[in-house]
């Protein structure tokens, strides 16, 4: 990330969102909204004096700590943030919310970098290609209530466990319950909200490996018992199966049977599951439960897909052009996909896909021109009434109404001919597959006898 931040030809726009996209491959006009940081980036050195001085101390649940730790209203997003600059949260800063604060942050800053007058601004950028890599979130379905998520203490998800285990996290790397004790037993429940007819059918792919990693850490750090309630162990990558075996040998208990519910009992958490190998129900008391919750498209993915006019699949992930042969392209030329926004995958696969997406984008950028098939549609303007039917049926949004007449963007048209069939006036012509050409074939067929026996 730091390399990207300091690369002379990469411009990092953080605190930003794409709000509108126009154009087509080679000629996209993207409108970006930059939300105000209230800190002038060119002046801020990331020294942290403003954060120290902020009076609203540790009162806001820190996004980076997955809600397990707190931050100030003026804060550094996290220790490795790029750019490493302070930001002021407009929803909790006393000055920005109530207009009542001594603004000690501003006084503490030795560079004069704090500016409460900052507004959101809009940038219009022209680009030739786009790579979408918006990643994933873990679900917070209401369905998780049966596991006590959000209700019971010490029922957490995988990301939250990562923060517990991290030396820079809220517990400085110790695995502790909410009241500060070392758990005697920790249970990991796989496939929560995934592989589930009632929630999502797909497998979230990353959980078997991270659960095994986290189980290894939990056992190493707590010395207690660690249970894994799984349906299948999906550890197919390079070195993954060996890792799974090793963790089993270290004493982590793998029980084949999905955890069905969690209850509180006698100050502990009770995991109810079926042990399919024993063929009976089990109830296992533990002190902490980690749920392997479903990986879902990141918040805002749907809106982004609409802005870029790309398709999403039934689970909300961005649709690739072909599941096997074109996994990084979309049906919109010039827009490519990388990482979990297309489907859940781990780091090596994401890196490979990102490299592929970059390569595809580079092909377009280095060629400088786009080759189109000649089988595009063309409008016969004299016949066009501007009804817009062709526009409606075009799968690629390649048709626009300009001054009451349809016009086809030849860079986007793929030559399917659906518009030509839809046009009642036959004002739009599918080149090389015109009505005349098709009828000519019909006439030729009908003029011959039904041949050979």
């Amino acid at each position: 990330m730091m390399d990207a931040g300091r690369h002379p030809r990469i411009e990092l726009l953080t605190l930003s969102e794409v709000v509108d996209v126009k154009g087509y491959v080679g000629n996209f006009q993207v409108r970006v909204r930059r939300n105000p940081r209230y800190v002038i980036e060119d002046l801020c050195t990331g020294c942290g004096l403003c954060v120290e001085a902020c009076v609203w101390k540790n009162r806001v649940p820190a996004e980076f700590e997955e809600g397990m730790g707190m931050r100030n209203a003026a804060y550094m997003p996290f220790a490795q943030a790029v750019p490493l600059k302070a930001v002021i949260d407009p929803d909790s800063c006393l000055w920005l919310v109530k207009g009542r604060c001594g603004k000690r942050c501003q006084k503490a800053c030795e560079r004069g970098a704090i500016d409460f007058e900052m507004q959101e601004e809009f940038l219009d950028i022209k680009v030739g290609t786009v790579v979408l890599a918006t990643g994933y979130d873990l679900t917070d379905d209401p369905q998780l209530e049966r596991y006590g998520y959000g209700l019971f203490d010490n029922v957490i998800d995988g990301m939250q466990f990562e923060r517990l285990s991290n030396a820079g996290g809220p517990t400085e790397g110790e695995i502790l319950t909410k009241d500060g004790r070392v758990p005697e037993a920790v249970a990991f429940l796989h496939c929560i909200g995934s592989r589930d007819d009632e929630a999502r059918e797909y497998c979230s792919r990353i959980c078997c490996m991270y659960a095994t990693k986290q189980a290894h850490l939990a056992q190493d750090k707590t010395g207690g018992r660690v249970y894994q309630f799984y349906i299948d162990m999906r550890t197919a990558g390079k070195g993954y199966e060996e890792f799974y075996k090793r963790v089993q040998k270290e004493g982590v208990d793998y029980i084949r049977g999905k955890g069905v519910e969690i209850e509180q009992e006698n100050g502990r958490l009770l995991v109810r599951a079926e042990d399919t190998m024993l063929g009976r129900l089990v109830e296992v008391p533990v002190d902490m439960v980690v749920l392997c919750t479903a990986a879902v498209p990141a918040r805002g993915a749907k809106e982004l897909a609409q802005a870029f006019s790309i398709s999403v699949d039934k689970d909300g992930f961005f649709a690739e052009a072909h599941p096997k042969l074109r996994p990084v392209s979309t049906n919109t030329d010039g827009i490519f996909l990388a990482g979990c926004c297309q489907s859940p995958k781990d780091i090596p696969d994401t890196v490979a896909q990102a490299s592929a997406a970059a390569a595809r984008a580079l092909v377009l950028l280095s060629q400088g021109t786009v080759e189109v098939d000649p089988t595009t549609a063309q409008v016969v303007e004299e016949r066009c009434s501007g009804c817009g039917e062709c526009m409606v049926v075009c799968p690629y949004g390649a048709i626009e109404l300009i001054e009451g007449k349809a016009r086809v963007n030849e860079a986007l048209c793929k030559g399917c001919g659906t518009c030509a069939a839809a046009c009642l006036a036959k004002a739009i012509v599918a080149q090389h597959f015109t009505d005349e050409e098709l009828v000519a074939q019909v006439l030729a067929i009908m003029s011959q006898d039904l041949a050979y026996a």
Partner: protein, 139 residues
């Protein structure tokens, strides 16, 4: 009806799925009735109702429109248009004196060679039973 009536069937096949499926049937040396003659289009969505009617007018006894399975259209949703147009057209055919069963729409993927031969065989038989289409009035 003459016993040696051989129906003349014109099929509009989409390039990516059904035409490839028909080709697969050919390369696998699978037999199917030669009553069918194929006109290739890029997408089944290219087939307009007017084109089908013109085909009947030029003497076809049956018209077959084949495309990709829903969800698999090479052009994303061209076959959705087909799926709407053809059933509506079928209902209207009786108004112009054409038995609706003479128009058939089906989805055949590029790997479904066998299915292609089945669809064609069954449809050919259907049209054979219906007999020649004799449209009254000027051709």
């Amino acid at each position: 009806m003459s016993e040696d009536f051989e129906p003349r069937i014109i099929g509009f096949l989409c390039n990516w799925c059904s035409y490839a499926g028909a080709d697969a049937a050919g390369t696998s040396r699978m037999g199917y009735p030669s009553n069918l003659r194929v006109v290739r289009v890029m997408c089944s969505g290219r087939v307009s109702p007017e084109l089908v009617l013109r085909t009947f007018r030029e003497g076809a006894d049956g018209v077959l429109v084949l495309g990709c399975h829903i969800g698999d259209c090479h052009y994303t949703d061209g076959n959705h248009r087909t799926a709407k147009r053809m059933p509506v057209l079928r209902k209207l055919l009786s108004y112009v004196g054409i038995d609706p069963a003479r128009l058939q729409m089906a989805w055949v993927s590029s790997s479904e060679a066998k299915r292609f031969t089945q669809v064609v065989s069954e449809f050919t038989e259907t049209v054979r039973q219906l007999g020649p289409l004799e449209l009254k009035g000027e051709a």
